[in-house]
Amino acid sequence: MMDNVGGSSSNIAENSGIIREQDRLLPIANVGKIMKQILPPNAKISKESKETMQECVSEFISFVTSEASEKCRKERRKTVNGDDICWALGSLGFDDYAEPLRRYLQRYREQELDRANNPPKRG
């Protein structure tokens, strides 16, 4: 009974085109965990801080993605890939973040190659 009500509510929300909070922002628990990693173990983070950081990080993601998407639009490409994100960070002046992200992207692609060459035995 309750599940059906929730399902119909979800359909209504999607039909009206409203962007819900959980679609627009990162999950607040994950944001809190990331904030806690840099703090001492006994530190406390207020709910207001997490909500403010939710807004900031979501806006930053849209900011960088918008810059990368503009580059793809000019080059008539439809897919935004990792290189475009690294380029966008450099283009916006976040050079200190672009370089570590390029190294992360390189290691990520190496892991993908290893996974493709060595499929798990279960599969």
Binding site: M2, V5, G6, G7, S9, S10, A13, G17, I18, I19, R20, E21, Q22, D23, R24, P27, I28, A29, N30, G32, K33, K36, P41, N42, K44, S46, K47, E48, E51, T52, E55, E59, S62, F63, S66, E67, E70, S91, L92, G93
Partner: protein, 205 residues
């Protein structure tokens, strides 16, 4: 000072226990499941210096003018396209002279806000995107206290101890190992994650 800090921590812990499991569920399963709350629950974050009964302002105060310029389109109406047509020409000339910052046009802030020249066009583009989303009313501004009605009712029915914390037999027995222990008997993964996050904090009672 200590008493007010405990009060704030207690209120925040109570709110976190009710709302965070739903967000965890969203991130874990990846399925968006919106629920209608039959009860109109008043949901507000207490201010830092106030008590639990203080009135919370409806919007976040951002004293820094940089933040005010970024979030200004949420309060203002849709920007007319005309002011953007002339301003970039003027500021492009300034970029050749001054590298420290470029004055950003703002309708709500009196003083000009200087931003990184590389980010100037990006900020203008994001402003238009936010204004467009705001005009179409696609962004829901009000935050719901919970996502799922059944989980909210379950949290209401759970037994609570002094200070409003949930009662947990394992935590009461092993308070010394509270930081390292993991409640495996808890069937709900989200609630377990919530308890793990709350473990480092000190109990108020």
């Amino acid at each position: 000072m200590t008493t007010s800090t405990r009060d704030i921590s207690d209120n925040e812990a109570d709110e976190q226990q009710q709302s965070e499991p739903q967000m965890q569920h969203l991130s874990a399963n990846g399925i968006s499941h919106a629920g209608i709350g039959t009860q109109n629950v008043q949901y507000a974050t207490p201010p830092q210096l106030g008590t639990g009964h203080a009135v919370v302002p409806p919007t976040y105060p951002y004293p820094d003018p940089y933040y005010r310029s970024i979030f200004a389109p949420y309060d203002a109406q849709t920007y007319p396209p005309q002011p953007y047509g002339g301003n970039p020409m003027v500021h492009l000339q300034l970029m050749g002279i001054q590298q420290a910052g470029v004055p950003l046009p703002t309708d709500t802030v009196e003083e000009p806000v200087f931003v990184n020249a590389k980010q100037y066009h990006g900020i203008l583009r994001r402003r238009q995107s936010r204004a467009k989303a705001e005009s179409e009313k696609k962004a829901a501004r009000n935050r719901k206290p919970y996502l799922h009605e059944s989980r909210h009712l379950h949290a209401l029915r759970r037994a609570r101890g002094c200070g409003g914390r949930f009662l947990n037999s394992k935590k009461d027995e092993n308070q010394q190992d509270e930081v390292a222990s993991t409640d495996e008997s808890q069937s709900n993964i989200n609630l377990n994650s919530d308890k793990n996050e709350l473990a480092p904090s000190d109990r108020t009672s």
